[in-house]
C-alpha cells in the first residue's frame, strides 16, 4: 500500500515550544505521519487519534497489534505506528482472536465499522463477545456504508434515505437497526460494553476515557470490551461536517443512547445508573 505520507508543512523547529510555553496538544506517537484517507470532517480520524493517545498513555505501543476491517478504515494499517493486520470484511474480531490466542501478551484491537461488525461480521462479533475474548473492539457506527458510497447499513435509522433505501428505510421490508451494545450487554461474556459519541469536545473526552478503559481492561485480563462510537459521515449523509454533527445529535443519539451497558469493573448499581442517565 502506498497511502501518501504527509509532508508536514511545519518544520520540527516550528512545532517546538518556545521557552515560555508548553505543548499541551500534539499528534500522538502511535500515529504515523500519514494523512488519514477519510473525507473532510469525518470523525473516524478523531477516534483513531483517541486510540493512539490511549496506547501512548498506557505505554503499550511496542506490544499492541491492530486489526483493521473492510470499510473506510481499510487502509488504517498505515495510520497506526504499530504491527497491523488487515482483515476480510466482517472478520476483524476473528482475526484479533487468532492473534491474541497465538500471543496472549499482545494487546490486540479490532477496529470495525457498522457494516463490518453488525452485518457481515455479526457472528464473529457476537461470539468474540460471548467468549469474553480478551481483546478491545472499537466500533464506528455512522449508520451508513461509507467506502462503497452510501448504502444502507444494519444501523441505518428507520426512514433514513441511503443509496439502497432511496425511499427511506422501510422497517416493514428492511427491518430495524441493530443496537449492538444493548444486544451484546445481554451476554455474560463481555467485560465492558459502552456507547460514546465524538460530536463535541465533551463527548470526545468521554470517548477517550472509555477507549482507555477498554485497553486497560485488556491489560489487566478483565476481558472483552466493545466501545461503540457514534460517528458522522458528512459525505454520504450529504451534509457539511458541521451539519452532520447536528444531524447525529438530533437523529442518532435518541436512537442510540450513550452510556455504559455493562462494566465488569464497576459496582453493579453504577453501571446501571450510567446507562439509564445518558
Amino acid at each position: 500500500m502506498s497511502t501518501p505520507t504527509a509532508t508536514p508543512t511545519k518544520t520540527v523547529a516550528e512545532l517546538e515550544a518556545h521557552a515560555d510555553e508548553q505543548v499541551v496538544f500534539q499528534r500522538p506517537e502511535t500515529l504515523t505521519s500519514a494523512n488519514f484517507s477519510y473525507c473532510p470532517g469525518c470523525t473516524h480520524g478523531v477516534v483513531n487519534r483517541l486510540m493512539a493517545e490511549a496506547i501512548d498513555e498506557l505505554d503499550i505501543k511496542g506490544r499492541t497489534i491492530g486489526v483493521v476491517p473492510v470499510g473506510c478504515s481499510v487502509t488504517a494499517y498505515d495510520f497506526f505506528d504499530l504491527d497491523m493486520a488487515q482483515a476480510a470484511h466482517g472478520r476483524a474480531s476473528a482475526v484479533a482472536t487468532g492473534i491474541k490466542r497465538a500471543n496472549p501478551d499482545s494487546i490486540v484491537f479490532a477496529y470495525q465499522g457498522d457494516g463490518d461488525l453488525a452485518s457481515i461480521g455479526t457472528a464473529e462479533t457476537v461470539h468474540a463477545a460471548t467468549r469474553g475474548e480478551n481483546i478491545t473492539v472499537i466500533f464506528i457506527n455512522n449508520a451508513i456504508y461509507g467506502m462503497t458510497g452510501g448504502q444502507m447499513a444494519p444501523t441505518s435509522l428507520p426512514g433514513q434515505v441511503t443509496q439502497t433505501s432511496p425511499y427511506g428505510r422501510d422497517t416493514k421490508t428492511m427491518g430495524f437497526p441493530i443496537r449492538v451494545c444493548e444486544m451484546l450487554a445481554t451476554l455474560d461474556g463481555p467485560a465492558l460494553v459502552q456507547r460514546v459519541s465524538v460530536d463535541s469536545p465533551k463527548n470526545i473526552r468521554q470517548a477517550k476515557a472509555a477507549i482507555k478503559k477498554a485497553f486497560s481492561y485488556q491489560m489487566d485480563g478483565v476481558g472483552y470490551s466493545i466501545i461503540e462510537v457514534i460517528s458522522s459521515c458528512p459525505t454520504n449523509w450529504g451534509l457539511s461536517p458541521v451539519a452532520a454533527l447536528d444531524w447525529l445529535r438530533e437523529n442518532m443519539l435518541p436512537y442510540y443512547p450513550l452510556g455504559v451497558f455493562k462494566d465488569a469493573g464497576a459496582a453493579p448499581a453504577e453501571a446501571e445508573t450510567e446507562a439509564s442517565h445518558e
Partner: protein
C-alpha cells in the same frame, strides 16, 4: 518413546503429528468425517500449552488461523468439503498476505451437502479454486495413515519456507481408517526458523520496522509486483517440491495415475492387470499442486496410454492431460457419491484401455 508403533485413526494421527510439528494453535468447527481431529486437539492442545478453539463457523475459524499465522504461530485448521468451501475466503486472504498455515480437508461426497462417505471431488477446488484471485496452495495427498503422520511436518515446513498455506487433502476413508503407525519424533521448537515478518509488536527484540499482514494494494503496479513475486515462488515450488511415488513403472505401457486412498486400490488393480499380462504401472502424485509433471514426463517414453483413476467424475485427469500434452491417450475411470472403485474395476478399465489403444493402433497401421 522412539519407534513406538501405535494403532491410530487417520484423523487423530493428523492432530498428533501437528502437535509434534510445533503446531501451537488450532481453530476448527465440527463436521463429519473429520471431527475426531478437532476432538483430539481439544483434548491434547491445552496440555501442550497451546490454543484450541472451537470457532463459531468455518469462516471464523479460518480467519482465526489468519490472525495466528500473522502472529507467527504454527497454526492448523481442519474440515471436510462443505466446510472448506466456507474457508475459501480466508484461504484467499492467507495467500494474499503470504501467511503459512496448514489446512486439512478430509473430503466427503458433494456437491452441496453431498454425503459423508469418502470422495476426492475437491481436487479442482484444492488445486484450482481455493478462493478468489491468482494463487495456489501446496496440496499434499497422503495414501496411508503412516503418510498422514509424516506429511503434517512436511506441510508446516513447506508453509514456512515458501510463506504459503498448505493443504493436506485426505478423504473420509483415510480419516476413519485405523492403521499401525510410527509417530514422528516431536520437533525441537528451537529448530523452527524465526519469522521476522510476524506481528509480534514493534517493541519486540531486534525490530526496527513495523510489520503489516495485508493483501490489499490499491496501486495496480504494486499489486502486480506482489503477484509476480508470489508466482516466482510458485516456480521455485514447482521446480523443487514435486513429489510422487511410482510402482512397476519402469516397463509400464499402461500408466495408472491415482492419488490418496484411491491409489491403494489402483495399486491392486495394476497388480491384477499385470497378472493377465497387461504391462501396467502406477504413478501416485503426493503433491497435487505442484502436480508431478516430471514423473509423468519420465513415464511417457514407454507409455502407450494413461488412465486417471479417481473418486470423482474426472478432475485430476485434466492435469494428467496437461502433463501428457497430447503425446499419448489419457482416459479416466472413477466412482462418486462415496462409492469406492474396486481393484477389479481398475483392472477392467486397464483391459478396456489396452483394447482401445491396440485397436486404434491396428487401424492406423
Amino acid at each position: 518413546m522412539p519407534n513406538e508403533k501405535v494403532l491410530m485413526k487417520g484423523n487423530e494421527v493428523l492432530a498428533e503429528a501437528a502437535l509434534r510439528s510445533g503446531c501451537t494453535c488450532f481453530f476448527g468447527y465440527p463436521i463429519t468425517p473429520q471431527t475426531e481431529l478437532a476432538a483430539y486437539m481439544a483434548k491434547r492442545m491445552p496440555k501442550e500449552g497451546g490454543a484450541y478453539l472451537q470457532a463459531e463457523s468455518e469462516v471464523a475459524a479460518i480467519n482465526m488461523v489468519y490472525g495466528a499465522a500473522a502472529a507467527g504461530a504454527r497454526v492448523m485448521t481442519s474440515s471436510s468439503s462443505p466446510g472448506i468451501s466456507l474457508k475459501t475466503e480466508g484461504i484467499s486472504y492467507l495467500v494474499g498476505a503470504d501467511l503459512p498455515a496448514v489446512i486439512i480437508n478430509v473430503m466427503r461426497g458433494g456437491p452441496g451437502l453431498g454425503g459423508i462417505q469418502p470422495s476426492q471431488a475437491d481436487y479442482w477446488q484444492a488445486t484450482r479454486a481455493l478462493g478468489h484471485g491468482d494463487g495456489h496452495l501446496i496440496v499434499l495427498a497422503p495414501a496411508t495413515v503412516q503418510e498422514m503422520a509424516d506429511m503434517v511436518a512436511t506441510a508446516f515446513a513447506l508453509g514456512d519456507t515458501y510463506r504459503t498455506p498448505v493443504m493436506v487433502l485426505a478423504d473420509g476413508m483415510l480419516g476413519q481408517m485405523m492403521e499401525p503407525v510410527t509417530l514422528p519424533e516431536p520437533l525441537d521448537l528451537a529448530s523452527i526458523e524465526d519469522k521476522p515478518w510476524a506481528l509480534t509488536g514493534t517493541g519486540a527484540p531486534g525490530r526496527t520496522t513495523r510489520n503489516i499482514a495485508n493483501s490489499l494494494d490499491l496501486v495496480a503496479g504494486n499489486l502486480e509486483r506482489r503477484n509476480d513475486e508470489r508466482f516466482e515462488r510458485y516456480e521455485q515450488i514447482k521446480a523443487k517440491e514435486q513429489r510422487a511415488e511410482t510402482y512397476l513403472i519402469d516397463d509400464a505401457e499402461y500408466v495408472v495415475v491415482a492419488f490418496g486412498a484411491c491409489a491403494r486400490i489402483a495399486r491392486s488393480g495394476v497388480e491384477r492387470a499385470r497378472a493377465v499380462g497387461i504391462k501396467a504401472g502406477l504413478i501416485r502424485p503426493i503433491t497435487l499442486w505442484p502436480f508431478p509433471t516430471t514423473t509423468i514426463e519420465a513415464a511417457l517414453p514407454g507409455a502407450r496410454a494413461f488412465l486417471s483413476v479417481e473418486m470423482n467424475k474426472g478432475q485430476m485427469v485434466d492435469d494428467v492431460r496437461l502433463a501428457v500434452n497430447g503425446r499419448a491417450p489419457v482416459e479416466f475411470y472413477g466412482r462418486t457419491g462415496g462409492v469406492i472403485p474396486t481393484p477389479a474395476e481398475v483392472a477392467t478399465a486397464l483391459a478396456d484401455l489396452q483394447q482401445t489403444v491396440t485397436a486404434a493402433g491396428t487401424k492406423e497401421a
